[in-house]
Amino acid sequence: MKQPSFSFLSRILAPLRAAYESLPPSVRRWTMPVLLVIFFIVALFSPAFINLYWQQVLIYVGINIILAASLNLVNGYMGEFSVGHAGFMAVGAYVASILTVWVFPRWGWGEYIPYLFPVALLVGGLAAGLTGLVIAFPSFRTRGDYLAIVTLAWNMIVKSVLENIDAIGGPRGFMGMQKLTSVAWVYVWVVITIYLLRNLVYSNFGRGTLSIREDEIASSLVSVDTRKVKITVFVVAAFFAGIAGGLFAHIIQFINPRSFSILKSTDVLVMVYLGGIGSLGGSILGATVYTVLLELLRPLQVWRWVVGPLLLVLLMIFRPRGIMGMQEWRFLVPREERVETLAALMERIRRKGEAVAAPAPVGGSSD
């Protein structure tokens, strides 16, 4: 995949970049880990110098990055059109909340709840992942519009079911969660999510996922087990949506079924398509831009909800692949998959190559 070109930016940064590239590779290898640790420390101490409002915005940005990146796996990489991501988020949110509000205190672990928070999130994610199978199975037989309708129905079913279970508050919602989600926690989960998704995307499952988007029949005819790939993708995407849901529940400390309506799913869709399909960097960008934009547009009051759909319509017309469509930021590409690494490997293979190669193309002078 090509690197995106933001020419004016790269011109400003050129001297910096040159200086960086003159460093020995052994030093450069540590750039990412060191940066990540520095950011983590900043996030950890952010309550000291960022006000409560902007802390909350940062947390929403993080949650939305997780949602957008995971939905991008389905809609961008696999090319399906799922519009029910909030349904999975709801499952994660309710399960994690029930754990921290009811289950842990009842088991006498009340005082350890801040430490058990990741466990609650993981269980919420797993529960959401399990429900991801619900969408995976119809996807074997239906594609495109029909699958979109199935996922829409799924979102509505989740909402209705939650509204009708009185034990968890029904339409009134569920509360009593502690404020466990902090900037540092969200940061950690974002890093984990992006790292794991990146690894998946650059594995043969990721390439299988892309091949389903490109041509599903051809994909199964070159040995890709499309069912296995689809199950994997839906379950993984639902898992991370569930994690995001748990984080969300423990920042606003009150969830009701309406928080996970189709509107929430639409927001995530806008972030994915705005940032760019088939690009994790795009999802990071899309989620950040869209979340911050909505905050800045608060003076517009109700009218700001017009922005999302409008943006989606304009995007589909003028830039259907989004800002970073099918491109990736360099730091998100694994070292061994970067173009120059592959070219070097090719060079090595060519030099030891056997004498009997296939009859060469006629000077490549086709068409």
Binding site: L200, L210, V222, L342, V356, A358, V362
Partner: protein, 256 residues
């Protein structure tokens, strides 16, 4: 023992009989051609073998495995690969990725191994990367390994499709009109290539082709289909003089 045995293969699309009572015994290493006018059912035979359609009747045995009812990816991992009449590459992906995807069934690591970069994943990925690049080098596509597939010239796209099929490590290769849309120079080159990969990878090949030059030039045995029926079978010389074949291709008056 034959590699492939097809018995009484019949397929209906609704009321239309696309293939009727198709039989074929394929010995290891053979190169058999299937010819026939448009709509004769040639591609349908390939689709039935590779599990795209499920036959209405008949059986297909490949090295003793019954293929009827198996999914395409299972059939391919048993050792049958194919190319398509109209090129069906993964257009927006790199040349290398196109080939690597075809090694899907040959990799054994699971999803967790991939996500956490476990040693098994790292090892198998490195191996696949190397194998795929070797194959591209062998097929004369090393310069273009990191290109997007759709940016290749037409002839190289055909070549890549064959490389992708070979990456699944097939014993039997089904080529569906590989010479379609090629100029005479490219066709000559393609014929050399088919014969070369046949030796190099020890393949049995079935070739569907409209270009008589290709079929007559490299096939040992030819089957002729018309309206789903097998109307003739034999060596290139026999087929060329068969009145039913001439009739099917040129119409009745030509024979009279």
């Amino acid at each position: 023992m034959p590699v492939l045995q097809i018995r009484g293969l019949t397929h209906y699309f609704g009321g239309l009989r696309a293939v009727h009572d198709f039989n074929l015994d394929l010995e290891p290493g053979e190169l058999v051609g299937i010819i026939g006018p448009n709509g004769a059912g040639k591609t349908t035979v390939f689709n039935l073998i590779t599990g795209v359609y499920r036959p209405t009747e008949g059986e297909i045995l490949f090295n003793g495995h019954n293929l009827v009812g198996k999914r395409s990816d299972q059939i391919v991992s048993l050792g049958i690969a194919r190319t398509f009449q109209t090129i069906r590459l993964f257009k927006n992906l790199s040349v290398l990725d196109n080939v690597r995807i075809a090694r899907f069934a040959r990799m054994s690591y699971g999803v967790p191994a991939a996500m956490f970069r476990l040693p098994k994943y790292v090892r198998e990925e490195a191996q696949t990367r190397e194998r795929a690049l070797e194959l591209l080098d062998l097929m004369g596509l090393s310069e273009q390994a990191t290109w997007v597939a759709s940016s290749l010239p037409y002839g190289l796209q055909r070549r890549l499709e064959i490389a992708r099929a070979l990456a699944t490590e097939p014993r039997l290769l089904l080529l569906d009109e590989p010479a379609a849309g090629m100029n005479p120079g490219e066709i000559a080159e393609l014929m050399d290539l088919i014969q070369w990969i046949r030796r190099r990878f020890d393949l049995t090949i079935i070739l569907i082709e409209h270009q008589m030059r290709v079929v007559m030039g490299i096939c040992e045995r030819i089957k002729v289909l018309d309206f789903g029926e097998t109307i003739a079978e034999g060596t290139p010389a026999e087929i060329q003089n068969n009145p039913r074949v001439i009739e099917a291709y040129l119409g009745e008056e030509a024979v009279a």
